[in-house]
């Protein structure tokens, strides 16, 4: 866990800022703003606190905006030993591991024009099931202006998700087709699509509903066609009041799921679990 213990306070603070303030308070029991809580938690470099940070990131991974890549395998895919530009910081039962990769953003500042860099510890998690290999990458902040006292934009990154995935992939891993799992949740009424791309025999069709109405509710004939067709980039709303995930996107034909907003209760875990278990 050298990447955590030898990293700067700012590294750990930016890592913790990826999580909701309520969950941070539960673990560190510090009063103040989110920034104050994160600084206090990041300043303690004791081994116990470093381990606590790693466990906190792992336990609350489901709260973060994230991109999920699902692969199929023949049961022999190993848990990766490390991640590009980072290291494994936590392993659970040999079937799940949390990694942190160090990513450097090239930042351009405005008024006056200047260049600088910003470093983040980027959480990535891998889970291995008997026939499924799941990579989950937290989506880091895209607007760097909050870290500076003036307007700023990202000019480049030292590593992107493609680099992370390339480091994990082995020849036996192929993108999973998760159409079945997604469509089961849709049929059960757990989710409803408000826009989606789907393949008809001789065309790629796209349906975008006005005012985010549901396709299944308002166009049952199109829903029936989509249920029989390969789905590509599609947007779903999670129905019901119990889930803290409002919407998520998926490209079921390529095994990709994207959670575009925070989930206060970490319900992305349950959505992924339901899709995989019904697939």
């Amino acid at each position: 866990m050298l990447i955590l213990s030898q990293g700067s306070i700012d590294d750990r603070k930016r890592l913790l800022e990826l999580f909701p303030i309520a969950t941070l308070r539960e673990v560190w029991n510090v009063k103040g703003t989110k920034t104050e809580i994160c600084y206090a938690a990041a300043a303690d470099t004791s081994a116990a606190n470093i381990a606590r940070i790693a466990k906190f990131v792992d336990d609350n991974f489901g709260c973060c905006k994230q991109h999920v890549y699902v692969y199929s395998h023949d049961g022999t895919a190993p848990l990766p030993a490390t991640v590009v530009d980072g290291e494994s910081v936590l392993q659970t039962d040999g079937v799940r591991a949390l990694y942190l990769a160090r990513v450097t953003y090239a930042i351009v500042l405005r008024n006056p024009l200047d260049e600088t860099t910003l470093e983040f510890l980027w959480p990535v998690r891998v889970e291995i099931r008997p026939t499924t290999f799941i990579v989950r990458c937290v989506v880091l902040e895209k607007n760097p202006s909050s870290y500076f006292d003036r307007a700023a934009y990202v000019a480049g990154k030292s590593i992107i998700e493609k680099n992370i995935l390339a480091g994990f992939l082995t020849p036996g891993l192929i993108p999973a087709d998760i159409n079945k799992g997604i469509k089961k949740l849709w049929a059960d009424g757990a989710i409803e699509s408000i826009r989606g791309d789907y393949k008809k025999p001789y065309s790629l069709s796209s349906e975008t509903m006005d005012e985010e109405r549901g396709i299944k509710e308002h166009y049952p004939e199109i829903y029936a066609i989509m249920q029989e067709s390969p789905l590509y980039t599609t947007l779903f709303e999670v129905t019901g009041d119990n889930s803290s995930v409002g919407t998520f996107s998926a490209d079921p034909s390529h095994g990709i799921i994207g959670f575009t907003s925070y989930s206060a209760k970490g319900d992305t875990d349950a959505i992924i679990e339901q899709i995989i278990s019904n697939n």
Binding site: D210, D251, G258
Partner: protein, 133 residues
């Protein structure tokens, strides 16, 4: 058929209009009474765009149609609608594609394109058109 008769009267006010053909009656019957555009009316009646605008606006003045406005996201998706532009929400949620994923943006309504559409006035004494079919 009261709505058809009213619409016929409105159309006749602009130009000598032939009786509705069986196909036109069917197309009018199939029109979604909750939402239709000038182009829907223009194509059914086979008139110019300017005539279709006049017909729809006359129908609004006579209480047959309601005029509404919708706001469109940069990708063309309709994000919200209201009876007037002033009653649209100050900002709307739009989506963009980003490396294979869909990302959301909150965009001020004033910066986005608006479009007019119509719907049958349910308070009109004709009632919903579909019930006449």
């Amino acid at each position: 058929m009261q709505l058809l008769n009213k619409l016929f009267q409105i159309i006749s006010a602009f130009a000598p209009a032939p009786a509705f053909s069986e196909k036109q009656v069917q197309m009018l019957t199939d029109l979604n009474p909750d939402k239709f555009y000038i182009e829907n009316v223009r194509s059914i009646l086979g008139v110019s765009h300017a005539s279709a605008v006049r017909i729809c606006e006359t129908a609004v003045r006579q209480g047959l149609f309601e005029r509404r406005v919708e706001v469109k996201c940069p990708d063309g998706a309709v994000a919200a609608s209201a009876d007037t532009e002033e009653h649209l929400p100050p900002s709307v949620r739009c989506w963009h594609r980003d490396e294979g994923f869909l990302g959301q943006d909150e965009i001020p309504t004033t910066t986005l394109e608006k479009a007019v559409f119509y719907r049958l006035n349910e308070q009109s004494d004709t009632g919903p058109y579909r019930q006449t079919a």
